[in-house]
């Protein structure tokens, strides 16, 4: 955890320095394009967290791996946090670029909101069932269903015919300058490391909590 946290802190600082002192100001969007360097990595990290949560959910159902249920839960929790950040930073960017905080006509936005709400509802399902194998199974199945929405959400923009949401990564590669792409890569690595560090910290806390509860019961 300390190594992950240190590395993420270092990379985040490097990313911020690159964003504001190295990457050029976009000719079309101006300074507001700088939001892209955090907004897109945060969104990709949210997808990664949901994907990781689904993978752990699969391990719950397939291998009955001990602890996988908790790992799946924590990963989805991280995904929801990063999802909320994606929606917030995206709204701010939309306001300055399109003049509105939100638009329902954009499939990419609506599908991401659906994905976010789907995984937010995961917690309602999880905490409405008593702790035990039934809760583990139900949560795992739900987490696996949600993963289907990830490629749909990711590809929505490419399937859309009439959109205003920008497409940066096309079949011809990233549509930006090398310096912009390098900055983006550092920001993405920083976000993934940050999510990894937060995931480890939260998991550690949850495991400690469970062990303490067990100890309390033993001593009672």
């Amino acid at each position: 955890v300390p190594v992950l946290a240190g590395l993420s802190g270092l990379l985040l600082s490097a990313a911020i320095a690159l964003i504001f002192f190295y990457a050029p100001v976009d000719a079309d969007q101006g300074l507001s394009q700088k939001i892209f360097y955090f907004h897109v990595p945060i969104a990709l990290t949210a997808y990664a967290c949901f994907g990781w949560g689904a993978w752990k959910a699969l391990l719950v159902l397939w291998k009955r791996k001990p602890g996988a249920d908790m790992e799946s839960y924590v990963a989805i929790h991280q995904g929801v946090i990063f999802g909320a950040l994606t929606l917030l930073t995206g709204s701010i960017w939309a306001k300055i670029s399109w003049g509105v905080w939100w638009t329902w006509s954009e499939r990419q936005l609506v599908l991401f909101l659906v994905l976010f709400l789907f995984y937010s509802a995961y917690f309602m399902l999880r905490f409405s069932v008593e702790a035990g194998p039934q809760r583990e199974n139900l949560s795992a199945v739900y987490a696996l269903f949600g993963v289907v929405l990830i490629p749909v959400s990711f590809l929505a923009i490419r399937l859309a015919e009439n959109f205003i949401h920008p497409t940066i990564f096309t079949s011809r590669g990233p549509q930006m300058a090398t310096s912009q792409f390098a900055t983006f890569c550092v920001a993405l690595a920083a976000m993934i490391l940050l999510a990894g560090a937060l995931y480890r910290v939260e998991l550690l806390g949850k495991r400690l909590d469970a062990q303490l509860r067990e100890l309390r019961e033993l001593l009672a």
Binding site: I16, D26, A27, D28, Q29, G30, L31, S32, Q33, K34, I35, F36, F38, H39, I42, I81, A84, L85, L88, T89, I92, W93, K95, I96, S97, W98, G99, V100, I164, H165, P166, T167, I168, F169, T170, P174, Q175, M176, L194, L198, V201, E202, G205, L208, D209, L212, L215, R216, L219
Partner: protein, 68 residues
């Protein structure tokens, strides 16, 4: 460039004003991320404090049991 969004109702703004607005929005976006991370760390710190207190209570309980 791929990261070109269609500008709605912003074209008529004076250049100086537009840059100022951009600065505000970019700062807001970065502050939101920063605030989230700080809030998350604060929640984790509170949780760690609670766990530390519980460990103290359990240690005390175990000590009393050992001493009879």
């Amino acid at each position: 460039v791929g990261c070109r969004a269609r500008h709605v109702g912003r074209g008529a703004e004076v250049e100086g004003t537009a840059v100022s607005a951009s600065e505000k929005y970019v700062a807001a976006a970065y502050l939101v991320v920063f605030a989230f991370v700080v809030l998350y760390l604060a929640i984790m710190a509170l949780k760690l404090t609670r766990l530390e207190r519980e460990i103290g209570e359990l240690t005390e309980l175990a000590r009393k049991r050992t001493n009879g």
